[in-house]
């Protein structure tokens, strides 16, 4: 009688520890996994090519607070004249030599490169910060 009673009890496997482990795994994957994929912006440093056509290259200098200096003239990022200028540069397929003031954040420079690529600029060269 005692053996008969014990036999079915041993057969039932408790699923509670299993669920505990699954919950812990779930928490681990929820907290540690990332979903946004890393992208890249490529800058082709055509060092030799730029030296040939340096006279023709458009010099863009990004200044603090969204001011952009293009060959001496000042524009504001995000305003229509600057967007038109970027489109003209892209249409002419001109070289762009991009630089920024030392205090400008990397994020704003990346945004400007992004704007340039979206306008269709292909030949972009990044040079060291200016004072």
């Amino acid at each position: 009688m005692l053996l008969n009673n014990l036999a079915p009890r041993k057969k039932t496997i408790s699923i509670t520890p299993l669920i505990d482990v699954v919950f812990i795994l779930l928490l681990f994957f929820m907290l540690s996994s990332t979903f946004n994929q890393k992208k890249q912006l490529e800058i082709k440093h055509a060092t030799s090519g730029v030296s040939q056509s340096e006279g023709e290259a458009v010099q863009i200098v990004l200044q603090p607070e969204g001011v952009v200096e293009v060959d001496g003239a000042q524009y504001r990022v995000g305003e229509q004249p600057f967007a038109q200028l970027l489109n003209t540069i892209a249409e002419n397929d001109s070289h762009v030599r991009l630089s920024a003031r030392a205090s400008v954040s990397v994020q704003s420079v990346v945004e400007l490169i992004d704007m340039g690529y979206q306008a269709g600029i292909t030949q972009l060269n990044l040079s060291e910060s200016v004072e």
Partner: protein
């Protein structure tokens, strides 16, 4: 008989509880599989928040990787650079076809990129990739 009825009474709600747990466990399993397959695990660094862009180019792991942390420390392929970046890059003997991938913190001033730009120009490296994350 008294003992028999006494032992069966609590076992019934137990079985009912187990039965109602099954759909919940199914959902937990599904969530687990979703996070395992859809997400990907990578080392995250609070000192390195890469800039956001709308670029579509996938970031492919390259042989030369430079990381610039928010505190201004430079890492080349995971190793901290104590001397000049140019000398450390030179030791890797890059060719003109080499691609340099740069992970730079978005809050750093642009001048933090100067050593990288001057080093790759002096080593005649033509391709620089700036790692960005998708704008959400």
């Amino acid at each position: 008989m008294m003992i028999f009825t006494h032992t069966q009474k609590p076992s019934r709600p137990k079985r009912q509880l187990d039965d109602s747990m099954v759909p919940a466990i199914n959902i937990v399993f599904l969530l687990l599989i979703f996070f395992m397959i859809a997400g990907h695990i990578e080392a995250r660094n609070a000192d390195l928040q890469i800039p956001a862009s709308s670029s579509e180019g996938e970031l492919v792991a390259r042989d030369i990787e430079i990381q610039i942390l928010v505190n201004g420390e430079y890492y080349l392929n995971g190793q901290k650079i104590e001397k000049s970046l140019l000398a450390s890059l030179q030791a890797l003997a890059p060719s003109a076809e080499s691609v340099v991938t740069c992970h730079i913190d978005r809050n750093l001033p642009f001048s933090a990129l100067d050593p990288v730009l001057s080093a790759i120009r002096q080593l005649n490296i033509k391709r620089l990739q700036i790692a960005t994350e998708q704008r959400l």
